[in-house]
């Protein structure tokens, strides 16, 4: 554990300040893993980080408006380091969100639509399991009995960019990825040891790991 923390301390990670509430929990989770972590909306700071996280609580329309106002659309579209979107942050990585009828960043093909829960309660709130759909270094060590914490009412449909799925009334994409851009619909920072494992996988990812994915 100490070795891991020492190794993680060589990684710089920037959480993009999207102007929405609740960046603290992500910040604390990364800090517990030992990375050098900062919250910033400064283009140069974001671009020079080893890893970038796009967090998100709030609505897609509000977050996109904030990202535009901070002149970060092109910055986020041209990142080359491993970049992880969490919850709304993942949704912002797709082409479009029906939550507010808003164009998103277009980093990973897909659309965000109301979750078809088929009569199950919404929001989809609580701990649920994941099914791996491909082998990917981000999913290293993830098993079918691992639970992660979800809170959402909108979701991305399964596609070729889905790395892991979840079932709640219907199947939706729990983890997506294209090249250096990765997204998780659930909250790894609130998913106990499983979330810690996934965040550690993300921190450990290298550009080589992601080539061809």
């Amino acid at each position: 554990m100490t070795d891991l923390l020492a190794k993680n301390s060589q990684t710089s990670l920037v959480i993009v300040d999207t102007g929405c509430a609740n960046i603290t929990s992500v910040y604390c989770a990364i800090e517990r893993l030992g990375c050098r972590v900062a919250i910033s909306s400064d283009a140069a700071v974001i671009q020079s980080a080893d890893k970038v996280i796009i967090p998100g609580v709030g609505t897609a329309a509000q977050a996109m408006a904030n990202i535009s106002a901070k002149n970060l659309v092109e910055v986020l579209q041209n990142l080359t380091q491993p970049t992880l979107g969490i919850c709304l942050g993942m949704q912002l990585m797709t082409d479009y969100s029906a939550e507010g009828d808003v164009a998103c960043l277009g980093l990973i093909p897909g659309q965000v639509l109301p979750l078809e829960a088929k009569g199950l309660r919404l929001p989809h709130m609580g701990w649920n399991t994941l099914a791996k759909t491909v082998n990917h270094p981000l999913l290293h060590g993830l098993t079918a009995t691992d639970y992660v914490y979800f809170v959402h009412s909108f979701a991305v449909a399964p596609s070729e960019f889905m790395l892991a799925s979840c079932d709640y009334g219907s199947q939706f994409a729990a983890i997506i990825g294209k090249g250096n851009y990765l997204g998780m619909q659930f909250h790894p920072e609130r998913s106990s040891s499983v979330g810690r494992k996934l965040l550690q996988n993300f921190i450990t990812l290298s550009a080589t790991d992601l080539a061809g994915n």
């Binding site: 509430a21 603290t24 929990s25 989809h124 701990w127 399991t129 809170v151 609130r190 106990s192 810690r196």
Partner: protein, 257 residues
């Protein structure tokens, strides 16, 4: 499958965890951060921190403990008590809470629920409801200011009507505290919870009455609640969360192991 949630509730006063019986005679149980960490490590699925004095005496409450919790735990947590405005809620969320829960202030000004929904999204708006069964009238009645016995008062709302109203206003989750059962450990109020379940389309959390492991099995399997909240059985070590999870798994309740 979505797992049923086990939720220790920590009543907070001046940064310490306290517990009373039927909302009275609060005794100090311990410091908040070590208890929160212990529950997270033992397998709690979520934590609720309820500032028991904040709603009833109107003072500005120091919430810096919220940040101290966020620094150490990696499961979701909700903060309740004294949140009267979008600004109050925003401060708590910025300190690292995942959800905020409103009770008396929402009864005083129901639009608060709508405002919180618009500002932060449905997913973080929890409405707590203190419900008392009046044996004389046979009605379930909503109470407010239950944190302070001298101010505790019956409202004009019957419980099921208020449950419907808060959903209409945009609540993302409801915690139903059955006051007759609170702290007496005789089991959850299954009759009332079933009644409310029928009217509740968002996640419903049962509160009040947990005394033994079978009570959790009953409330999940009979009242189909999404989560069960309990305080004293966990604080006093009467039930270990890990034992409870094994028990519920054996009883075929969907639980995160």
């Amino acid at each position: 499958m979505l797992a049923k949630r086990l939720i220790p509730c920590l009543d907070v006063r001046d940064g310490m965890v306290v517990k009373g019986v039927q909302f009275r005679n609060h005794e100090v149980i311990g410091d908040i951060v070590p208890l929160a960490r212990r529950y997270a490590e033992e397998g709690a699925d979520e934590l609720v921190f309820y500032d028991i004095t904040a709603s009833s005496d109107g003072r500005v409450v120091d919430k810096s403990w919220v940040r101290r919790i966020a620094e150490v735990i990696d499961i979701p947590f909700c903060v309740a008590g004294g949140i009267k405005s979008v600004e109050d809620a925003g401060r708590i969320l910025e300190l690292g809470a995942d959800k905020i829960s409103v009770n008396s202030p929402a009864l005083a000004r129901p639009e608060l629920i709508q405002e919180l929904n618009r500002a932060y999204g449905q997913q973080c708006v929890v409405v707590g409801i203190d419900s008392f069964f009046d044996k004389d009238t046979g009605l379930y009645q909503v109470y407010q200011f239950t944190g302070d016995e001298s101010r505790t008062a019956k409202t004009r709302w019957q419980t099921v009507d208020w449950v419907k109203e808060v959903q209409r206003l945009g609540a993302g989750e409801i915690v139903l505290n059955c006051m007759n059962q609170d702290g007496v450990r005789q089991g959850y109020d299954l009759a009332q919870l079933k009644l409310v379940r029928d009217a509740c389309k968002v996640p419903l959390i049962a509160s009040g009455g947990a005394g033994e492991m079978s009570h959790f099995q009953d409330v999940f399997l009979q009242a189909d609640v999404d989560g069960a909240l309990a305080a004293s059985v966990f604080h006093k070590g009467i039930i270990q969360i890990s034992d409870l999870k094994q028990f519920l798994l054996a009883a075929k309740v969907e639980i995160r192991p």
